[in-house]
Amino acid sequence: MTEEELKSILQACQKGDKAAFGRLYDLYSERLYKFIYLRVGHKEIAEDILADSFVKVWTKISQVNSSKAFSSWIFQITKNNIIDYYRIRKSTIAIEEVEQTLEDASNPIEETELRLDQKRILVALSTLPRDQQQVIRYKFFEDLTNPEIALIMNKTEGAIRVIQHRAIVRLQEILRQKKV
């Protein structure tokens, strides 16, 4: 979908067009659901959080000013709903701990099916600084975009690109030294 098409859908939604909102759901539901599921680990809970997130999107859609910001905005709403879920499951947990839990998706990759070279990459990845590891995991294991990663990590998109660059260069250097 082009940016123009998305803009058109958003404008229609803002005018109360539910069919347009249905299209928005079709575009984002699968990715958001996967994002939620990797963090709550329960299908029904993930479905309900997904539904809640979209209902909230509908009620607040007038706040969206640009189609560029929409993706990160919808992720923000979803992220907040997941935080609420965790806060209530463990009502004594601090918000910082929840956000940390949120950042680390549980098992986005099927580790039992890795080839030897993939396992080596994973080992090398684990030696990188935390933020570099996270960017690589979000980008390649969860298929998140730079704006979405920026939102989750509370950084700018430019910062995410820099981290990604450093992570890949570093990873390549480690693997070259180990001759993978």
Binding site: Y25, K34, I49, D52, T59, S91, Q118, V162, H165, Q172
Partner: protein
């Protein structure tokens, strides 16, 4: 000058979208990095269970189509019957603050007094009540909420029994919950019986529910009162007595209204399964004694002309004497001594005079050089 940062970003984005990257792979300088990016994108992803996206979409569309009675839309949550328990008719009247999210809302509705999220449950109930104008629906809601208080009471007592919460905390929670129960029952009575000279069948159904609630309350609260009487727990006793009184009045009023309509009460009585619930007993040294009361620690019994003294005379009763008292809690919620008997071995705290003399003799013997 190669902008590696930009290339890495471009290639990774193309890989995400399944687009061709051979242009960069064919560049010998870039190929190691590009091949690494390709390998990363080919990691096997953990399977995510497929969601029923169509059902979820329909659910969302239903929710956003409901008329909003406040700034937040109505919320129905699939698969959580607790929500449906709270709706008594028009779905549109159900408003639960949407910013709670599903996990929050469910946890709130399952919570009991003492838990951090419990206040949210009460907010939900109060919100629902405020938005309900029909008196019959209000009465039914209040009866439902009163039943919730009874369930919470049972849960709190169980948690105390298993040691999850302390007795002190339990006492506070129980007192408050029973006080809330009493208010809710009174409110339910008010809603269901005000101005009902000729109740309709729907109203009679509500009145029957009120009678059932009263029976349930009596069955649950009376044993608690017995326990409170034995432990001389003044605070809990007071709220229990008030709650039982309100329950009794509610039942009488509801029955009167049903009978005025020329109908029979359909509510089932709830009987005590165990007669021993009214029984009380205590064993130990007498700690307080008056002409008509005898106490062992915090257990206080009333002595009457019916009290039997087994192997002991009334004149022999004194503070410090080890006795066993069996009694019962009667209709006035006071504990009456039925049988008082001495126990065989004297307790450590008090010793008869003869024991003391013997001890002194022994002491004086050992003190001799």
């Amino acid at each position: 000058m190669i902008d590696l940062e930009q290339i890495i970003d471009e290639v990774s984005n193309r890989l995400q979208r399944g687009r061709d990257i051979s242009f960069w792979q064919n560049n010998y300088q870039l190929s190691p990095i590009v091949n690494l990016l390709a390998k990363l994108s080919l990691f096997p992803k953990a399977p995510t269970p497929t969601a029923n996206f169509v059902r979820i979409k329909n659910q969302i569309m239903d929710r956003i189509s409901e008329p909003s009675q406040a700034s937040e839309p109505a919320k129905i949550s699939h698969g959580f019957s607790y929500f449906f328990k709270f709706t008594t008719g028009a779905v549109g009247t159900l408003l639960i603050i949407i910013s709670l999210g599903v996990g929050t809302a469910v946890a709130a509705l399952q919570s009991v007094p003492g838990q951090t999220i419990y206040p949210l449950k009460r907010i939900v109930e109060n919100t629902e009540l405020k938005l309900t104008r029909d008196p019959e629906t209000r009465a039914n809601l209040q009866i439902q909420f009163a039943n919730n208080r009874l369930e919470e009471l049972a849960t709190v007592l169980e948690r105390n029994r298993t040691g999850e919460i302390s007795s002190d905390e339990t006492q506070k929670i129980v007192s408050q919950t029973i006080a809330d129960l009493e208010k809710t029952t009174a409110a339910a009575l008010n809603s269901s019986t005000t101005g009902k000279t000729n109740p309709t069948s729907k109203q009679v159904s509500t009145l029957n529910k009120l009678v059932t609630l009263s029976n349930k309350q009596t069955a649950i609260l009376k044993p608690l009162l017995s326990a409170a009487s034995i432990t001389n727990d003044g605070q809990v006793k007071i709220v229990l007595e008030q709650a039982l009184e309100t329950s009794k009045i509610s039942k009488e009023e509801a029955i009167r209204n049903i009978e005025n309509a020329g109908l029979k009460v359909e509510a089932q009585p709830i009987t005590f399964a165990d007669d021993s619930i009214n029984k009380a007993s205590a064993s130990g040294n007498i700690t307080a004694l008056t002409s008509d009361t005898i106490s062992i620690g915090t257990s206080k019994f009333l002595m009457t002309k019916d009290t039997k003294y087994d192997n002991i005379k009334t004149t022999e009763l004194k503070v410090g004497l080890a006795v066993k008292i069996t009694g019962e809690v009667r209709e006035d919620n006071k504990t009456y001594a039925q049988v008082i008997s001495p126990t065989e071995a004297p307790q450590a705290e008090t010793k008869p005079t003869t024991s003391t003399t013997e001890t002194e003799s022994a002491a004086s013997t050992t003190d001799q050089p």
